[in-house]
Amino acid sequence: MHDDHDGAAVIEEGRPIFLQIAELIENDIIDGNLPEESQVPSTTEFAAFYRINPATAAKGVNRLVDDGILYKRRGVGMFVAAGSRATLTSQRKEEFFKEYVKPMTVEAQKLDISPEQLTAMVSRGLAELPDNPAMERSGSA
């Protein structure tokens, strides 16, 4: 029970923890670690694993219930809703520009990287990706 796990290490400073818990669950759904219709850990398990206040963990889980990503089976627990992976990936694509592309372009400008060089670098990054079923899936779409 008190093994020296490091779940606490992924919790960042300076951002509400319930949002981080919601994102961690979302990531697991997107990665396929939490398939649709599978049961998610209890808030007590989240609290113990990430070493956070149980009420905060519950707030993160409940946010996903409000968003329709998780649903509650009375007396059993929380489950991943059908269709939630597609919902989450389309949400994340909108955030992708703001969180990744924009800072990248600012840094590129600072380093005098031309648009052509930048495009070439992105292509190279894509080419160097390990074989990833998720990539193939989106590539064929």
Partner: protein, 312 residues
Amino acid sequence: MSDSNNAVIEVRNLTKRYRSEKALDDVSFSIAANKIYGLLGRNGAGKTTLMSILTAQNFKTSGHVSVFGQSPYENEKVLPRICFIRESQKYPDDFTPQHAFRSASLFFANWDQAFADRLVQDFQLPVKRRIKKLSRGQLSAVGVIIGLASRADITFFDEPYLGLDAVARQLFYDHLIEDYAEFPRTVILSSHLIDEVANLLEHVIVIDQGRILMDDDAEDIRGTAHTVVGPAAKVDQFVARREVLHTERMGSFASVTVSGVLTDAQRDEAMALGLELAPVSLQQLVVRTTMAATESDFGGTDRSAETLEVSK
């Protein structure tokens, strides 16, 4: 602010004077049921005085204190529902931990002996050795075990970890989270190891020089301050009209901590100016807020904060 409808503790205009010194200065707040509170502040801020008055182990000078809607003084309806683990609890000379646990089991209605036994094992506490002969850490473990296994409706832990090593402190935090999840109750944790306990807290009360500086949900505080780092001129431009908590300068560079949540537009602005934005931890925020308060007390200028640095 706490919801006063389910408050288990109400404090209004509480003042405690030791001769001319004000240990508590017109303090008002409430404590809601079944939350974990952090009572944070520097040594001598008034934390222990406050907890002693709430647990009827010290007298107020003026003001109003109610616990479960009643005065705690010599109140047999209130006191058995409160557990106060002091930093340096005194026990009778011939007492062993076993004796201390026996006494606690008689006093606290919710005492869980099986849980206490598990904790004794985890903390590797010699229960038959006289308490006088225990190490500082073992003495702290006795208090931690009583505080957890009593499952009192309100439990105060006043810097409960003195002498406990990092592993034992983690054991305490882990047991607190797990047991609280199963048996929700009100916990008030006084600590200056803020980084260690920050993520366990649902609500934070910061006290300094006998006054309350912050009384907020921990989640509401997170992300409300940022440190902006970059060329001084650009940093100054960015932080203009913001509340500055702290400033450090090194040559033409500046690092300024400002309060307030940043909008996406402001983040874009910082990015365009080539400034780095760093989040501020709860501990840093408490240190900055406390120092800013001290500064305004002494009418200091923006430079005085740098000489008052207490910890990083």
